[in-house]
Assembly symmetry: C2
Homo-oligomer: 227 residues x 2
């Protein structure tokens, strides 16, 4: 029963983290980031609906929301996820081309913001939903980064706040299995994973491909709409 | 001759860092942060004038400016430097009461932002102007924090960007001696150190007291106006 600050993107991993932490009796402060990515509008809508789901399922006194706009920092960076001048690459998450989707410093900035919130409200943990499938492309999701981030945030807050990232060694299929076994189950029908900007998910980008593989592996059918 | 990203607050330490890095032939990208502190308006005005000074002294092709607004994150935190409901404490920088001036996570957020800029423009260093006098009050200025931050940013950027903080073991008097020996000298008449909101510096807050002591120790007279 702790107070924990998480980054809630509205995707499968952070939504499962939210459900799991609430299920263990924690008070959870969700940070939602506007930062100028192509799919950001859909992420924020999904995160809002997921919070509403838990509010309606008995957690309204345990769930808190904080909105931040980091567009002035991240909204003009060189990344295929940002702006309109480059397309989101299609293919498998472990293809070299997917490195175009790196947003420089995104997780460090998100975690730093969450650390400020945590220190200010007296929370003792910042929790991140990074998972094993992120490691190949994203340096700011790898275990060695998370360990160093933990030390940095611990020192920055004079020992008050640490970092936890329970999915670091889990695949997206493992995470799905966790979420479907929670009561209530994680509302995957509300989550958004696709990197592209259209209303329905594309099914072709690295994020969609990895999501669909996870549902297939766990013998669940993905409840969201695809193009 | 590198490209280096610095945080420029318009105070003595970061202004001397700017002058020193320009003097060594580096290209310097200055990040200026709006974040809602009482003295923020004066800091930004000072930083602007210091950049203009170096522009007029032959460095216009070596100096770049980036403005960021972090008020949505830092502008409502619990700190005597933020908002109107608490006064800035007066006294010596090493008094316990000065810990009220901690802004939770400020340096981590500033450095994270600078790391995103550095990664995006291909710079290899983020430089911070923290100095030895900061260590007692501010955990996010201590050498162990800077070392851990260096590792975290290095890992976050896949080995591209590191952190340097050349004043970590220097006092404010040491820094003044560096700045007065540069050609052109650092324009201390343009710098702003005071934590309070009025136009002229107060001379009573921890920041002013430490500044005045440094000028006294180095036998320079402080060229700025005090109340």
């Amino acid at each position: 029963m702790n107070t924990i600050v998480i980054g809630l993107s509205g995707g499968m991993d952070s939504s499962t983290l939210l459900g799991s932490l609430l299920g263990k009796g924690n008070s959870v402060h969700c940070c939602i980031f506007k930062y100028g990515s192509k799919h950001n509008y859909h992420e924020i809508r999904a995160a809002s609906e997921i919070i509403e789901y838990y509010n309606l399922n008995g957690y309204s006194d345990k769930i808190h929301r904080h909105d931040f706009n980091l567009s002035s920092i991240l909204g003009s960076l060189d990344s295929a996820l940002i702006g309109d001048d480059r397309d989101v690459p299609e293919g498998h998450f472990e293809d070299e081309v997917m490195k175009q989707t790196v947003v420089p410093g995104r997780n460090l900035l998100f975690a730093s913001t969450m650390a400020s919130v945590a220190e200010n409200i007296g929370a003792d943990k910042v929790a991140l939903g990074v998972h094993a499938g992120d490691h190949f492309i994203y340096p700011d999701c790898r275990p060695e980064f998370i360990r160093s981030l933990n030390t940095t945030i611990y020192l920055s807050t004079d020992g008050q706040v640490g970092v936890t990232a329970p999915w670091t060694k889990k695949t997206k299929a493992d995470i799905l299995n966790v979420g479907y076994n929670l009561d209530p189950p994680v509302p995957y029908y509300l989550t958004r994973t696709c990197y592209k900007s259209q209303a329905n998910s594309c099914g072709q980008c690295g994020a969609c491909v990895e999501r669909l593989e996870a549902f297939k592996k766990t013998n669940h059918s993905d409840p969201i709409l695809y193009e």
